[in-house]
Each structure stands twice: as C-alpha cells, then as structure tokens.
C-alpha cells in the first residue's frame, strides 16, 4: 500500500488469497471518482481449444477434464454431451441417472471446499482456513468428511477421484458395480443430515447489506433442478435453447486479462451465473429438504446479495446429497454401459451447470471423428465482467475508508464468486491507484 500524493492513493494487495488460480485487481480512483476497475488475470492462457483441434473426439473428455482440478466432471460431461449430439446418440436413461449422480458428487466436493476452506473465514474475521480451524475444528472436520463423500462417489463413477477417466461418448467405459453404489447410501444419508447442519451454521452469520441488480442466467428444466440438461433461463428474458447461446452471449478479449470476458447482447450487459443465480431461477425445483433449508436460512428468492452465495452453496450441497440419495436408492442399473454409434461429421453444443455456473461447449468434427473446431466458455469468464461491475457498485461505499479496508472488502466480494482463474485462462493481486 502506498500514497504518492495528496490526491493520489495507490493500494496494492500483492496476492488475493483463497481463490483458485492467479490474477490481480487494479482500481484507480481520481479524488472520489472511480476511474478504472480491472480484474487482471495474468495466469498464462492454456490454449485448450487449439489443443483439441486435430484430436480424435474420443480424447476430448480426457483432455477437457485437465482444464480444472476442481470441476473435471463439468468439462467432461459438457464435452461428451456436445459430441453425443453430433453423433445423434440418445443415452440409456440409467446412464443419464448415473451421470446426474456423478455431477452431484462434483457439486458436493466443490461447494464444501469453497464454503469451509475459502469463503467461511471471511465471516469470522479469520485470515485463513487454518485460523478458522482453530476456532471451529469440528465444523471444519465435518466439512472435510462431507467432501470425502463426494470424492468416493467420483471414484466409483469416474474410475478414480483425481482426473476421472470413465465417462465416454455414449455412456461410460465401465459401469460401476451395484454394490459399490449401494455402499454409498449410508454415507449420503449422513451427508444429507450434516449438510443441513452446515447450512444452519452458516444461516446464523451476519451478511453485509449489498444488493446488486443482477440478471441471473442458469439452465432450467420444467420438472427438476437443472444440472446436466435444460434450457438457458434468465431473469431478464424468456428461456432460450442451448443451441442459441451464441446468439445471446458473446466473449470479448480485454487488454488487462488473459481470460475472455462474456457479455450479453444486445446491450453488452453483464450477467451472473452460479449457485445464487440457479437458486433464484430454479428455487421451485429444489428437492424438499433443500427448499425447506433455503427458506429457513434466508436464501429463498428474492436474494441479490452476492455475500449470501455461501448460503446458496450450502443449500445446493443439501440438494446434491438429497438428489444423490434418491438416485442411489432408486437406481435401475443400465443394461449396457454405452450406446454404439457410427461416426458422422457435424457440429454440436451442450451446456451444463458446473459448480461455479453455466458452462458451454461447441465442437465440430469431420467424418472420421476428428475435432475441427472447439469452443469452451467456462463460468468464471462469464462472471468476470459482473465481478468488475459489482466492484464499481461497492467502491463508492468504501471511498472514505482506508486502503486496507477497501482492499479487504474488494477481496471478500471477489471470493463470493468462487472464481476459478485456472478455468478461465484462463488469482488475485489488488492494486488501487488514487489519482
């Protein structure tokens, strides 16, 4: 932090902690005016889309899973579904249920990790999860056990918990054994009960007053809480088909970031994806215990406070256990692991709900099944511009504060998004310049 002259204040937070990846935040203030807010991402771009070109489509799920260590299933599932649409494959309903169950595992892992190790420390004025663990050892241990249940599920369905390999075009390479899944029922029963307790613990927190006029965007289904399929719903317009995503949303390159930023046509507006958007748009489709929990802890619509996204993640954790348990208890094992198909050329898209929000993929393959084109729009790049807009709304409320307080509150706001910079480059240093 430094102050160069009376009208100029420059604040630097060299590293914004507790986010996934590396980046920085630059704020320039001229007197009491906010001149510039830039969320800088300098993690090197990893060119996955270019890497996919020329690869056989069977390799796509394996390659895209490598984009993110936290949400490999989101990348795998979205890519596989897009390729299945090109090949005209209708998967076995039993396989579809297993895939939804698998996605529940990833939501549990990702949400529980963010709640306990990255976000909750902010509400207890703790600098880190280590400090939180000193004060709330039982709560943190409980969080770790819940996360382990998500791991175990991914191990059973994905072949292994780290870098899962089992998802295939048309289904799975190998179906899990029924007894492997049955063994998870007791864990999910415990997890459901404990996740409600986590939500109640968080429901007792005090949240800063800060409402943002968000346009929420998320997948939506008429009959269930959307995860792996659905139309694209918005609080600002009627639902659109996933095929029309690029007619309404586009990405732009901004000079200060190695990640693209998404905007919405026609007014180049920002929008919000993720747990808060999903709960606001799809509340009616939450499972009964999750809905009850949402009401009890104050995250039922309308809620436009980004700080309450920790509650949205807690409710979705309850949902993932409840939904997962229902699938585990009613599972009819598919008769075959995957549907055979004849390779054909074409173009296809898919969108699913990654833990951090909507993810969109588009692929074109030739008649030998070689990828000619790939486009991947992760949730964090869709939220980038909205994060900057939120900061522009927050900063006038902080302008009279000292630089340390401004830096801390900006960091906290960014963390509510659970941004994954590794996904979008695609962390954060904060630099505030007062001119």
């Amino acid at each position: 932090m430094s102050e160069s002259e009376t009208t100029t204040r420059a604040i630097q937070v060299p590293i914004l902690t507790r986010v996934e990846g590396e980046g920085a935040l630059h704020v320039r203030l001229r007197g009491n005016e906010i001149e510039q807010v830039q969320r800088k991402i300098y993690e090197p771009p990893r060119f996955f889309e270019a890497l996919l070109r020329g690869k056989p489509m069977d390799d796509v799920a394996d390659i895209t899973a490598r984009i993110c260590g936290i949400c490999p299933i989101a990348y795998q599932m979205t890519s596989v579904q897009a390729l299945e649409s090109i090949q005209g494959i209708a998967i076995d309903p039993g396989v579809a249920r297993l895939r939804r169950l698998m996605y529940c595992g990833e939501w549990i892992e990702s949400h529980v990790l963010h709640i306990h190790l990255l976000h909750a420390p902010d509400f207890f004025d703790c600098d880190s999860a280590i400090e939180l663990a000193k004060r709330f050892p039982n709560e943190v241990k409980r969080g770790l056990k819940l996360k382990q249940i998500g791991n175990r599920l991914l191990e059973v369905l994905g072949g292994r918990a780290i870098h899962p390999v089992n998802l295939a075009i048309g289904g799975y390479y190998r179906l899990p054994r029924r007894e492997e899944l049955a063994a998870l029922v007791a864990d999910f029963e415990w997890g459901l009960q404990q996740s409600v307790d986590v939500a109640k613990w968080l429901g007792g927190l005090s949240f800063p007053e800060f409402d943002v006029p968000y346009e929420f965007v998320a997948l939506s289904c008429p009959d269930r809480y959307a995860i792996e399929t659905g139309e694209i719903a918005s609080s600002g317009h009627s639902s659109i088909a996933v095929e029309d995503y690029e007619k309404f949303f586009y990405e732009v390159h901004v000079p200060h970031s190695t990640a693209l930023q998404a905007r919405k046509k026609p007014r180049d507006s920002t929008y919000l994806v993720g747990p808060l958007a999903r709960i606001q748009l799809n509340y009616h489709n939450l499972t009964p215990i999750a809905k009850q929990t949402a009401q009890a802890i104050g995250i039922a619509p309308p809620c436009r406070n980004p700080h309450k996204s920790i509650l949205a993640r807690a409710v979705e954790t309850v949902f993932a256990f409840e939904e997962g348990l229902a699938i585990l208890k009613s599972l009819a094992m598919p008769s075959r692991s995957r549907v055979p198909y004849e390779v054909r050329a074409g173009e296809g898209v898919s969108a699913t709900e990654a833990p951090r929000g909507l993810i969109f993929h588009r692929y074109r393959v030739d008649n030998r099944g070689t990828v000619e084109f790939a486009k991947i729009v992760p949730p964090t790049s869709q939220n980038q511009a909205q994060i900057e807009a939120d900061l522009r709304q927050l900063l006038p409320l902080l302008i009279a504060c000292d630089d340390t307080k401004i830096a801390l509150d900006c960091e906290r706001l960014v963390r509510t998004y659970d941004p994954c910079i590794s996904c979008s480059t695609h962390f954060l240093k904060l630099h505030i310049e007062r001119v």
Binding site: T17, V19, I70, A129, L144
Partner: protein, 156 residues
C-alpha cells in the same frame, strides 16, 4: 485379510508441463511397487487432507520453482524453509497451508516428508523433455530406496 496401509506417498500437480513432475515421480514409484506404501495423486493441495487420517507417515512429492532444474530436495515438516518456498500450486490453499490446517485439526501424521524437485520457468506450459524423464526416474528410485530404508527402520 487386507493389510492396513500406514504410509502414503502423494504426488501433487497436474498433467501439464513441469507441474506434472510430482505425478510422474509417484507413478514411477507405483511401478516400483514398494510394500505397504500407497501411491496416490492429488490435483490440489487440499486433497492431501483426505488422506491424512489413520496413517503414520505421509510423503508429498511436488515441483517448486528454483534455479537448479532437476535438483531433488528432501524436507521434513515442520520446517521454516518449506513455508518460505514458492509453491507451484495456485489452488486456493497451498501445501504448507494444508499441513498447518491438518495440524490444527489434529489429523497430521507423525511423520511428513516433502520431496520437491526444482523446475524453472512457467510450470504448466509445454511438455516434459526426455531429460526430465531421466531425472524423474532417478528421483523415484532415490525416494523408493529412502522409503524402503525407512520401513526397515534405518532412517526417518
């Protein structure tokens, strides 16, 4: 009756570039097949927490940024040097943070050894060269022999 594994080696990293060093070394260790040692991979340091409980000895293998590419360091936790190092992981909470957290939660194994191999430049870009393959095999062999001696009670 299945044996209880009390010693775990975890490679930390990803499949990308020099970030894959920890994984490749632990995969080599797995092929060497050391008795009573479980070889596992982690993509983010927080995953170490899932394997801390119920074991006596934890070995972590990771890459670090350093000037002497390929040099293998053996460190015993706790160590100020470990906290001061620049870790290649960027995922939310780093290795020293995870070990401090495990200590607070009372789940840290009695012995924690960290093996780090120095690498230079951007850790996640490009592919590992054949020179790296040789370094990785040598490192795996070294760690395997050290671990075998530890099991016999000769060191650690």
């Amino acid at each position: 009756m299945s044996r209880v594994i009390r010693r775990v080696v975890i490679g930390i990293g990803s499949p990308h570039g020099q970030d894959a060093i920890g994984w490749r070394i632990v995969e080599c260790l797995g092929r060497l097949g050391i008795d009573d040692v479980a070889c596992e991979l982690a993509r983010t340091p927080s995953e170490i927490l899932d394997r801390c409980e119920g074991i006596d000895s934890l070995h972590l293998v990771d890459a670090c940024i350093g000037p002497d590419s390929g040099r293998l360091h053996q460190l015993q936790w706790p160590d100020e040097q470990i906290v001061a190092m620049r870790w290649t992981s960027t995922h939310g909470i780093d290795v020293p943070g995870v070990l401090q957290l495990a200590t607070e939660l009372g789940i840290l194994p009695a012995s924690v050894t960290i093996w780090v191999m120095e690498c230079e430049g951007n850790p996640v870009e490009g592919a590992l060269s054949s020179a790296w393959t040789q370094r990785i095999e040598t490192a795996a062999d070294w760690i395997a022999r050290a671990t075998a001696r530890a099991i016999r009670g000769e060191i650690f």
